[in-house]
Amino acid sequence: MMDKLNNKKTKLYMNILLIALFAAIIILLDTDTIGDNYIRRVLNLSAIYTIVSLSMNLVNGFTGLFSLGQAGFMAIGAYTVAIFTVPLAERAKIFYVVPQNPVLAQIELPFAIALVLGGLLAALIAVLIGMPVLRLKSDYLAIATLGFSEIIRIILTNAKSISNGALGIKGIPQMPTMWVFFGVAILSVVLIWLLIDSSYGRAFKAIREDEIAAEAMGISLFKHKVMSFAIGAFFAGIGGGLLASLLATVDPKQFYFTVTYNFLLIIVLGGMGSISGTVIASFVVTAGLEVLRFFDDPLTLFGVTIPIFRPGFRMVIFSLLLMLLVLFFRNGLLGQKELSWNLIFDWFKRKSKRTGKGGTAQ
């Protein structure tokens, strides 16, 4: 039976069915037919995390550059949206200690423009940072990118007339529909997929595998590394902008470099060279973090309170998972492969072989 399903036409139909199912679920959620605000929020957050994780995977997983700077680029995107989309009338109330810079105080942009602007700004800064920093070895690159991420955060904390400092900006207009988040996420996945599949993508992978060999083959290391870094920053900025709109408030503390650890977990779980792996992992981790919340509440079984469950337990489990993953499941779910129908069928084949339930001939 598996063989019959294994032809192009069937796969096409199954893909269409899957897409239709997915769209239907989102429409139902969006129109409030099923689910509630809480579930919508978690799903939107997953979509945003998908975008940022993909951006990180592009740089770390596909190009092999150890960059820990995503939090900083997210912050740039988030603040661009925050600064420019809050309605002009509200601004004085928010910038109540140090008034907003008079030039910025006049400008209000529609969300889409501010979003793209945020991404472009992040990419620009990535180019400026990348040019000197990308020739460093992997460990130094990690610390340097982490350092820049922190510098960006510290600047945002102190440049009060631009970012309102550590008080943060609230009252950011929110999006009325889930399609904004999922739409942008889908677009990002498609764009990155196309990028990886192109000659640029192959160059990135070559750099990851063996820099010296790639250079010997004529690939300009510098140009491609900066390109990958900048594109990664662009998508991280977009993700940050969407996050600002989802949470309606931004504040430099949200972009402490430990935030990057979330995305690190996601790309390690999904597989550092796999787009579909990252997408799956981001939903699993975001949903998982919320589900794990019950670890933070005292648990009473048969009237006996188990003292292990206290606030903070959730994050212990989370970090333990990261450790276990990197120690034992280094390749994550999909390693460097992509999810496809072939993969699923093969998996079923192998399972049925083992359990001996029907299946193909040995």
Binding site: M315, L320, V326
Partner: protein, 297 residues
């Protein structure tokens, strides 16, 4: 600005610089041997501080006994960390072991938050360390006064171990060439464990001195110092112990001088460390005292 105020700020700078120096030694040694940035080093420092709190306040031990216990416990933690998080990944790609270091650091922080709650605990008041003395208009606590001397003495001890003992020679061999050292019959595991023992004990001593100066102990107290101390190690030349101490002092002084002369930029104090890092990496990546390493193709 009076000479008095300047001297006071100078003293502040030296004091914080020597604390950074103590931690930086640990980073530089581990990197020299394993080519690994031990992200969890700052968290061992934090755990040492908590051990001190518990030994004195909960178990009511006298301070000299507590210090020994704390150093032992931190060493045990450091070696445990190495064996569980780093050893299994010795042959894995560099990125994996880095992620493991990050994960270990994250785990220690969350564990501390969970076990000790986020509420800061008071570091025990060790009378002989916290007494305040006045030297010509400059006020210091005894802890602040002795810290630079302790740092220099420990530096001398570490250098002695590295240069004049057999295990030290083994450590130098391993940091020069891992594979060859292994082939020459050097017990790699012993060398690595020794490195972590030295690093962790220095972190513990640093924690005790730090706690006497800043008696608020909380789970993420090791994050910023950890990062800064790694930067100090890079500044001085990664792999070079004297360089680490030098880097620590320079970093501490730079921070304090920024606040002294440009008080409006106090908020950027942490950024100074990162800016120094970027500059060093771009201008002289091997650091002030580091040696040039050629990458063989």
């Amino acid at each position: 600005m009076t000479i008095e105020i300047f001297m006071q700020q100078l003293a502040n700078g030296i004091s914080i610089g020597s604390l950074y120096a103590l931690l930086a030694i640990g980073y530089t040694m581990v990197y020299g041997i394993l080519r690994l940035i031990n992200f969890a080093h700052g968290d061992i420092f934090m755990m040492a501080a908590y051990f001190m709190v518990f030994s004195i306040i909960n178990f009511k031990l006298p301070w000299y006994v507590a210090i020994v216990i704390v150093i032992t416990a931190s060493v045990a933690l450091g070696v445990l960390l190495e064996k569980t998080a780093y050893k299994p990944l010795r042959d894995a790609p560099r990125m994996s072991i880095m992620i493991s270091a990050i994960g270990a650091s994250f785990l220690l922080e969350n564990l501390a938050t969970y076990l000790f709650t986020g509420v800061p605990k008071g570091f025990p008041d060790i009378k002989i360390l916290t007494k305040s003395v006045s030297l010509g208009g400059v006020s210091l606590s005894i802890a602040t006064l002795i810290t630079p001397f302790v740092t220099l003495i420990l530096l001398y001890v570490v250098l002695f171990i590295t240069n004049k003992t057999k295990i030290g020679m083994a450590m130098r061999a391993v940091s020069k060439d891992f594979e060859t050292a292994k082939l020459m019959g050097i017990n790699i595991n012993k060398v690595i464990s020794t490195t972590f023992i030295i690093g962790s004990s220095l972190a513990a001593i640093g924690a005790i001195l730090w706690g006497s100066k800043y008696p608020s102990i909380y789970p993420i107290m090791g994050v910023m110092p950890g990062l800064k101390c790694f930067i100090a190690a890079v500044l001085g030349g990664i792999g070079n112990t004297t360089g680490a101490v030098l880097g620590g002092f320079i970093l501490g002084m730079a921070e304090i001088m920024l606040v002294t002369f440009l008080p409006s930029l106090t908020g950027y104090r942490d950024a100074i460390a990162f800016i120094i890092l970027i500059v060093v990496l771009l201008v002289k990546p091997t650091g002030l005292l580091g040696e040039k390493v050629t990458d063989k193709v």
